[in-house]
């Protein structure tokens, strides 16, 4: 099911993904997910005490304190990611727009969370340790410099999708001119179910390409540049208490907690996208894919530019 939808049952499964995504969107629109947001907010408050206790236990050298702190950090990462955020929007948008396979998409989500943790460590140790800055100054740098940079890169991802979508739409219209290896694509409209080994679809080239290194790098960096303030706090307090290593490890534990949410988002995006495509067999899909890419790209670009403009 990773490359194409072959069997009717898989087709149904894919269609269910569209249904699940639509159901979640509908529940959200009706305010039915608010209790979850309220719950997450209450848990975020509770985990502050656990975090303080975990840091103190490591400082005091209690047995099992490291494992305890890592568990709390993981929960912290999960709870703070369990809501809308730019990382999830970027991963979901990209997953909807490009026909990326599930595993690379999930890997991208995990890599982005890890890079975000690594960037927080680099930022705090460069600022606080090497330059002797205060936490406020590091946080200020994150807000005034890296936040706009992050939004700018997300906007670039959006525009990049728009441009490629437009190019793809033009290609679909001209029967794949210039893409000799798949110029025959439209002839196979309607036989998506044949299960005959090789990929016919006009999207085959896109599917095969999966995701270029350039795409992946842009996405990962765009997400990483916006470190979580909670990680900055943890790194600063553990550095000040002489247990810096625990803070670095805890920051990556937070990253894994965040990744739990972003990877789930990637999975849902993949599932919903395959569901959407299954409703458009053959030639329809050939024309729809670039248009979806243009629409999602424009949405991502518009949103991030709106967030960026007041900051510059």
């Amino acid at each position: 099911m990773q490359d194409r939808i072959d069997a009717p049952s898989l087709r149904l499964l894919a269609l269910a993904g569209l249904g699940v995504a639509a159901a979640i969107a509908a529940l959200w629109a009706m305010g039915q997910l608010d209790p979850f947001a309220v719950w997450a907010r209450a848990q975020q408050r509770e985990v502050q005490s656990a975090l303080a206790g975990g840091v103190r236990a490591v400082r005091a050298g209690h047995p099992g304190a490291w494992a305890g702190l890592m568990t709390v950090c993981f929960s912290y990462g999960f709870l703070h990611a369990a809501g809308p955020g730019h990382g999830k929007a970027v991963i979901a948008g990209y997953g909807m727009a490009r026909r990326v396979r599930l595993v690379p998409l999930a890997g991208l989500a995990l890599a982005a969370s890890m890079a975000q943790a690594a960037f927080a460590v680099a930022l705090v140790y460069a600022g606080v340790w090497a330059l002797g800055w205060s936490r406020e100054r590091v946080e200020g740098l994150a807000e005034t410099t890296f936040l706009p940079l992050s939004y700018g890169m997300v906007a670039a991802v959006g525009l990049w999708l728009v441009w490629r979508g437009l190019r793809g739409a033009a290609r679909a219209r001209h029967g794949g001119a210039g893409e000799g290896d798949h110029a025959h694509a439209h002839a196979h409209a309607g036989d998506e179910d044949c299960g005959c080994g090789h990929a016919h679809g006009p999207t085959a080239r896109q599917v095969a390409a999966v995701t270029s290194v350039r795409d992946a790098a842009l996405l990962v960096v765009a997400i990483a540049l916006r470190p979580c303030s909670g990680a900055l706090f943890l790194l600063v307090v553990t550095y000040a208490m002489g247990i810096g290593l625990a803070g670095v490890a805890g920051t990556f534990a937070m990253g894994f907690g965040t990744a739990l949410v972003t990877v789930a988002t990637a999975g849902l995006a993949f599932w919903a996208r395959e569901g959407a495509l299954v409703t458009l067999p053959g030639a329809g899909m050939a024309q729809a894919l670039p248009l979806i890419e243009v629409a999602v790209g424009a949405l991502i670009a518009a949103t991030s530019l709106v967030l960026l403009l007041p900051l510059i």
């Binding site: 979850f36 947001a37 809308p84 307090v237 000040a240 949405l299 949103t303």
Partner: protein, 220 residues
């Protein structure tokens, strides 16, 4: 609807149950006392902020307090802590807002500040005077607590105390209804559609998500 407004609406629409483009990293339990003058009109608020344990620990550690981490500050350290969170920028509104009915009231800069560290948490207090005396008989005195940027999450931790209030005064704490708040947000977005600067007017929405206390006094 301009692209900018559309994008802002979109940015809001993609947030669940709050102005959650940011999410809080500092949690404050706030309590306050409403002080009435001899004529029975409210004249000042004495506000207390208790910071969450993680923020408290971070602040103390990074500023060299409590180097043995026994959670007890020396008297010198307690004295040095006082006023630590009161160096407000001139344009910082202080996260506490007072209204007479719907009408915003002015509040003075913080006075009579204190801070103490107890049970792993820093608690600071400050007093702010209302710009003029308020008689809660005509209109409710409303006190809201929120950070428009939502970096800090405030919660009214105890029912406010009314000091020197005339008989018949009551206080009620209201927590935000996310659904109603979202409706207010969407209505405001509609109203602003086409106007030049969404951001300028935007922070007012934060109050829809704020916890608030309503003080009302019956006329005898």
């Amino acid at each position: 609807m301009t692209l900018r407004n559309f994008g802002m609406a979109l940015a809001c629409a993609t947030s669940v149950g709050g102005p959650a483009l940011a999410h809080p990293h500092v949690f404050i339990d706030t309590t306050f006392e409403v002080i009435f003058d001899t004529t029975g009109q409210a004249e000042a608020l004495r506000i207390s902020w208790t910071y969450d344990e993680f923020y408290s620990l971070t602040y103390l550690a990074e500023n060299g307090f409590d180097p043995d981490f026994d959670e007890v500050l020396t008297p010198e350290e307690q004295a040095r802590l006082s006023g630590f969170d009161m160096g407000w920028d001139a344009d910082f509104p202080g996260d506490t807002y007072a209204l007479a009915g719907q009408r915003p009231l002015g509040l003075s800069r913080p006075e009579a500040t204190s801070a103490a560290y107890r049970d792993g948490k820093i608690t600071s207090t400050h007093l702010r005077r209302l710009s003029g005396p308020v008689a809660p008989q005509a209109e409710d005195l409303v006190v809201q607590v929120y950070d428009p940027s939502f970096y800090t999450a405030y919660r009214i931790a105890a029912t406010p105390v009314l000091t020197g209030a005339p008989a018949g005064c009551t206080v009620q704490v209201l927590v935000p209804d996310p659904e109603a708040a979202n409706a207010i947000l969407l209505a405001a977005m509609d109203e602003m559609a086409g106007s030049a600067d969404v951001e300028a007017a935007f922070p007012a929405i934060g109050s829809a998500y704020a916890e608030e206390a309503r003080i009302s006094c019956k006329t005898e």
